[in-house]
């Protein structure tokens, strides 16, 4: 039944997002970009793609951070074009996509304030998709309780923050715990929302979010080795909507080193190949690279089905991946280290 009524409210937007997806860079485009000797060359080559002259007003010499910022700006403008015209429930779905960036911005500001940076210096560095009016008032909070009561209580993130309020001191580890706790609550809430929509949206989005949850669980586990994060605290950070829940998460929580994590991954066919080899040099594929590849595959697959909201989420993530690819190529060119320049995730053949 959804197929019969989807186009009434959301058909135009699906058409738009499929058009945006058609503009993603192909293998040939990446090959051209990899041949560039300087960032100016890269700018010229990007002008022949759907990005056009988005860097034309930037002064020379071009910096990689400028390219990153402009790519984000382009992605955000396309997203906002969809969001401003969308009606419910698509509007709420698109809002859910932006909550992840809001969490990142809050953490960025808290970290910057902790290191005595001015808020005016930090706000321009926030991700534009995650900007909300209360963000500028973050500097008044010294503890998580103040943060919640003074700033976040009226924002969409308030329900996610209730679990973090017990963390009093805002030091580096606690901030990381707050980030991951917020993210866990966000992913679980988003998962529940997608399930409530049902149909093809549920099929597509739940698979993507389950992978996201499992990825976070693996990353939290591996990154926590050698830190003060206890196994009990680690368990509380794992989102409970992935394939690893519950047995895999329990095993991950008990891991003490990388080899034990690999043994846990061996129980899951889709994750086993990702842990086969580690990266000894920066040119080889790391675990994160393999996660990005798998995520890109899921997002491309999302476009195989029509009349569902997964295409919007997949588009945002594919655009992000494209941005990462271009920034990686730019970094290799800027550092004159082109031997590893092919270490990007190809999206479209």
């Amino acid at each position: 039944m959804a197929e019969m009524t989807f186009n009434m409210d959301d058909g135009y937007f699906e058409g738009l997002v499929r058009g945006f997806k058609g503009g993603l860079l192909t293998r040939g485009d990446y090959a051209n970009l990899s041949q560039c000797e300087t960032l100016e060359d890269l700018k010229l080559h990007l002008a022949t793609t759907q990005y056009g002259n988005f860097l034309s007003n930037e002064p020379s010499p071009l910096a990689v951070s400028t390219i990153d910022a402009k790519l984000k700006e382009r992605m955000v403008s396309e997203f906002q074009h969809l969001r401003k015209q969308a009606v419910q429930p698509l509007a709420k779905f698109l809002d859910y996509i932006s909550y992840g960036y809001m969490i990142d911005n809050i953490i960025l500001l808290i970290t910057g304030i902790l290191h005595e940076r001015d808020v005016a210096e930090l706000i321009p560095k926030c991700h534009p998709l995650g900007v909300f009016p209360e963000l500028k008032t973050l500097s008044i909070a010294n503890t998580t309780e103040e943060l919640y009561n003074s700033v976040l209580v009226d924002t969409p993130l308030a329900p996610y923050f209730l679990e973090c309020v017990t963390r009093q001191d805002l030091d580096e580890l606690n901030i990381e715990i707050i980030r991951n706790t917020l993210y866990r609550a966000y992913i679980e809430d988003f998962y529940k929302f997608c399930k409530s929509i049902g149909g093809a949206t549920e099929d597509v989005m739940c698979e993507i979010l389950a992978f996201e949850a499992d990825r976070r669980a693996f990353n939290i586990t591996i990154n926590s080795f050698g830190t003060e994060l206890t196994k009990e605290d680690r368990m509380k950070l794992y989102p409970r909507v992935g394939r690893l829940y519950p047995a895999g998460l329990k095993m991950l929580a008990d891991c003490s080193d990388y080899e034990e994590v690999v043994r846990v991954a061996e129980y899951y066919a889709e994750y086993r190949p990702m842990f086969d080899t580690g990266a000894a040099t920066p040119g080889e594929k790391t675990l994160e690279d393999k996660f990005f590849e798998y995520e890109a595959k899921l997002n491309i697959k999302a476009f195989m089905q029509q009349f569902q909201y997964g295409v919007f989420y997949a588009f945002v993530k594919l655009k992000e991946q494209e941005g990462r690819n271009i920034v990686w190529i730019s970094e290799c060119i800027a550092q004159k280290n082109k031997s590893k320049i092919d270490n990007y995730v190809n999206l479209i053949d």
Binding site: V64, S65, D68, D104, L108, T111, G112, H115, E116, R117, E121, L122, K125, H127, D171, E172, L173, N174, I175, E176, I177, N180, N219, I220, I222, N223, S224, F225, G226, T227, E228, L229, S256, D257, Y258, E259, V261, G278, A279, A280, T281, P282, G283, T286, L287, E288, F292, R324, V327, W328, E331, C332, Q335, N337, K340
Partner: protein, 266 residues
């Protein structure tokens, strides 16, 4: 005949000094290559970290404007002098840690914070040590006039003399090592140690971890970031080694010139 013997001896000494200089030059170029490789890999790992975490997660916004050096470079003579000054109750010359601890100490308060390698590179400042006759070689981590200088001995001796640099102390954090392979977790219990000592050790470890610059960027640092830190630490070692070799080469070159002059005068 004795004049001929003297000439032969001087010639032999000159040859030995030249051999030594060539050996040092070979070491210098090899260490320079190591430095370049470790810096290159370090920056590439930083780029990889930015790729996974996001560009703005690894930026100047993440670190404080005033930073504390976690390692210093001192000479053996400085350590002995600092020891003497400690035992005599006099203040140190400022070349060692500000709280008077001997030699290189960890987590001491800095004067103006030395800028990080990344910041120096961006500003285009060159921090290579420039040795002068009888002067001091500054470590590449410090600004001119700041502490952590490596003093140079007098070079009046002709015969071969190697000046020992104290091995740079550094934090013993294991999480600075390795990429994808996990680092060890802190031992949660130590057998056979009383609880006070155990608590003190834990507090010390926690303090050192807090001071680890890795924590500025992420409370749970990813393997790529740890790899980049490891490579940059290697490059700092290489820089100190280069400074040592360079001063030795200068000393050998001076000795060679003096020997040549003495031969000419004779």
């Amino acid at each position: 005949m004795s004049a001929n013997d003297d000439d032969d001896r001087v010639e032999q000494q000159l040859d030995e000094l030249l051999d030594l200089y060539m050996d040092l030059y070979t070491q210098y170029t090899a260490t320079m290559n190591d430095l370049q490789l470790s810096m290159k890999d370090g920056f590439l790992w930083v780029s990889k970290t930015r790729k996974s975490l996001g560009y703005d997660r690894i930026s100047p916004l993440q670190y404080p404007r005033i930073k504390t050096a976690t390692a210093h470079v001192t000479d053996e003579e400085d350590m002995i002098q600092a020891f003497d000054e400690l035992s005599l109750g006099t203040s140190s010359s400022g070349s060692t840690a500000s709280d008077g601890a001997v030699g290189a100490s960890r987590n001491t308060a800095a004067d103006d914070a030395p800028a990080s390698t990344l910041r120096q590179r961006r500003k285009g400042g060159s921090k290579n040590p420039a040795p002068s006759d009888g002067g001091s070689v500054k470590s590449s981590k410090s600004q001119p006039g700041k502490k952590a200088e490596v003093k140079q001995r007098g070079d009046s001796e002709v015969e071969r003399k190697k000046r020992e640099k104290v091995v740079k102390e550094r934090d013993s954090d294991e999480e600075g090592e390795d990429g994808d392979k996990g680092a060890k977790q802190p031992a949660s219990s130590q057998r056979g140690v009383n609880s006070d000592h155990h608590d003190a050790i834990k507090a010390e470890i926690a303090q050192r971890r807090k001071a680890d610059p890795l924590r500025w960027f992420a409370g749970l640092p990813p393997p790529a970031l740890r790899s980049s830190q490891r490579h940059f630490k290697q490059s700092v070692d290489a820089v100190v080694e280069l400074a040592r070799i360079k001063t030795e080469m200068d000393a050998v070159a001076r000795a060679y010139r003096q020997l040549q002059l003495s031969q000419i005068r004779a």
